[in-house]
Symmetry: C3
Subunit: 347 residues, 3 copies
């Protein structure tokens, strides 16, 4: 694709094209990080990008830049094809879609799929080999089910969803439009609810629903449990990375982002736009306000206010935690000094 063709497409995009210099209008075959790019590849930079220093020596063919004079000056001096955008990262995402158009799955049901006679398959659905769909389950128009997906009875999948290989949807799963469930993820599994009795743990039946609103994405191997009653709900546009556990009865607002290996215990409530970094844990019935952020490995009990940034376990405000952590590594010195002071005051 010529760079000029790409520019025309970016003009229609959301990234805010401000300027374009097509230079020799190079043929762009693919994309790469700036320090590894070849002359037929596209790269991007944004403010504060660690690769900025690589720009002067990069063999890159064309580059998407933020509106930053020093970078534009380098591009001009080197006679590079470039574009200036309000959001060069977003432009790069748009460009990657153009350079690597997704192959549209063919509609139809593979001969090896096993569909219950009471399953409802809307038009334009693609059902791959070895998919199983249970009774009273419905697959929305345009959805794609990759090989080995298992859908139990009583599941609703909205339009244009994509379910990757070997993903499993249990009874009571309710997916909105344009959801993505990645390989080996499990949605709607039984919550971990047991009643202690004299004879041991007795299962609390888990009869509720799991609702994934529109545009939710569930990463590989992640598990979203259904509750005993009521629902587990993931708000529209929330994105969940790999190997995340969402317990029974959790509710999560819109546009949250949960990094890998996060665990959220039963009944916790997250607002809109909450960001949890890797390996964060959230305790039973914790409440996290809108746009709060927890840094990696934090453990959250109780309540986190909207907009707060927390760290550590138990989680405390991030700035305080940074200072406490720095002090932690000084603890042996502090203990020694304390002993000395005690001796000197005892004299």
């Amino acid at each position: 694709m010529r760079f000029s063709t790409l520019i025309k497409a970016l003009q229609q995009g959301q990234a805010g094209l401000k300027r374009a210099e097509v230079g020799g209008d190079p043929l762009i075959a693919s994309a790469a990080a700036l320090d590894q790019a070849r002359s037929d590849q596209l790269s991007f930079l944004e403010k504060g990008n660690a690769l900025t220093s690589a720009f002067g020596n990069s063999a890159v063919g064309a580059v998407l830049l933020p509106d930053q004079e020093d970078l534009i000056a380098i591009a001009l001096e080197r006679g590079l094809a470039f574009a200036v955008l309000v959001d060069p990262r977003l432009a790069f995402a748009e460009a990657l879609e153009l350079l690597h158009p997704r192959r549209r799955a063919q509609a139809g049901v593979h001969a090896s799929a096993v569909l219950d006679e009471r399953a409802v398959i809307e038009p334009g659905v693609s059902i791959g080999p070895r998919v199983c769909i249970g009774a009273d389950s419905r697959i929305g128009a345009g959805s794609v089910l990759h090989p080995g997906v298992v859908i139990y009875d009583d599941v609703i999948v909205g339009e244009n969803c994509e379910l990757h290989a070997n993903a499993v949807l249990h009874p009571g799963s309710r997916l909105g439009r344009s959801c993505v469930v990645h390989s080996n993820a499990v949605v709607g599994s039984e919550g971990f609810g047991f009643v202690p009795t004299a004879r041991g743990w007795r299962k609390m039946p888990q009869t509720g629903l799991v609702v994934l609103e529109d545009g939710v994405e569930v990463g590989c191997g992640s598990t979203i449990d259904r509750p005993s009653v009521g629902e587990t709900r993931i708000g529209a546009g929330s994105k969940i990375d790999n190997l995340v556990q969402v317990g029974h009865g959790v509710t999560m607002g819109r546009g949250c982002a949960l990094a890998s290996q996060v665990g959220i215990a039963g009944g916790a409530r997250l607002g809109n736009g909450v960001i949890l970094a890797g390996q964060v844990g959230v305790a039973n019935r914790a409440v996290i306000g809108d746009r709060a952020i927890a840094s990696s490995k934090s453990g959250i009990h109780g309540e986190v206010a909207a907009g707060e940034v927390v760290s550590g376990y138990p989680a405390i405000p991030n700035r305080l935690w940074l200072r406490c952590s720095a002090a932690f590594s000084k603890l042996p010195e502090m203990a020694k000094l304390l002993r000395e002071l005690k001796r000197s005051t005892a004299q």
Copy 2:
């Protein structure tokens, strides 16, 4: 179902029915949490339940209560149908089973299942689509295998087990009666054993067994490894949540409960009734006594005595940890005070 019918069933149950007032004998269609219940729904309260305050305004149709005068007074005043029980949570579990009877899987082998000719299938087993069963493996009477389950050679599954979609059982897996393996869990996988050599890591063959005693439950995506020699053993009635790792050669007693994302390294030994909260880690060869409890994210080395409650990493007694954690957030102040004291004593 009329509330009076439910009451008759609870009389036969284990929850200790002490009193029942059927009021208008409402039709109960399902169950819900007290703050969300409608007039055709059942709820429950127990001592200290956070929803107690919602009771006065709840639209609930009938409620299961502990023997607590204030709650009974409200129920009587509102003319509600209610029952008083020794264990209202257990009664709620029993009621949920009545309200949502499990559809019994039909016995038989789906045409798309692939069974080795040396596999043994006992009577009344239900084998779903695309299940594979290897040579010399045996499936006990009444067990249910959901779609996509893979059973390698040399596996024994006891009676009335349930194996959910895409679960995998490796050679040497030995399941007792009434075990449940949830979707995408893996039992009997090779332990992570490698011998360092001049040429790199050399695999230690993992030739042992994994024994799940009666009533063990393994959560979605959890992995239970087999050891090089001997066995990994999970005691009767132990319950394991999602995404838990149990390493090779671990032994666990009866009635343990492991929350999500717990990791237990090779050779650790857990007694009976041990409870590990979410994301706890247990190191190689650690020993945990009966009924010990570890709070979330704890890391356990060495030994934990029976009945102890531990927290933190490295794990220390919970009460001490609470005080240490509180002090941790005061560390910058402490460091400052220490500097001041040093200055003042130096004068």
Copy 3:
């Protein structure tokens, strides 16, 4: 197998046989830990092994020993069959392979497998039931694909690989020779890359590769993501345990070992021979030098020098961390002492 036969095999092995006493040349049927071994079983000891004290009373039939006089003396006194080796653990691995020879999977494609017409299957490959292989994917000679494996389009699997049940390989996966992917693992899944926009999270297309060099092993349920551009690379001979997350664009050197539930965020770089214990987290773009070791639950930001041993979160040198952790449990006492000192100096 007679012990003398085993000895002959060990002479050809890599473990450095220094001496052998066949005694009554017992028949060895299998192997066991020293404290559980019977007279037809083989065990081993190495320097500092915790089971050394069990040696005197063990019923073991034959034992592999390090060159340690006290152990040899016990073996001689008891008239045991034994061998002395430079590396008795390695010898035990070799012996287990002899005692439990792996059943060679039969070459051929099961009738229920679904292969795209543009898939390339080299000679001697074994493809189990219900395997799916997409277009333009190639399976190297001698590889074994267990039931339910799903290989998307555009995947290359080298020679003599083993893919366990229900493992999934996504487009852009490139496996070298003799790789093992365990059950329910996912290789080449989409990296967790989203661009924040006014309309919510917008997916950054993940168009790169995942390269597993020769001899890499990926544990059950682990996930190795592909990046937006460039590659995620796992160096030759690196071993990854269960439920590990390797983010998009991570590069890892040769011979690394990652224990269970480790999480490595996007773009981190690990050198050769790095060892990460269970539940370690590595942040975005962290850099870990050759042969560095992180103890369990550490959290690594920034840089770790070659050969360093780190612990804690944020990770600090292990020795310092041990002292700091010991001091942590003394924090309440320290705080009390500090208050007292303050009072006494204030007077």
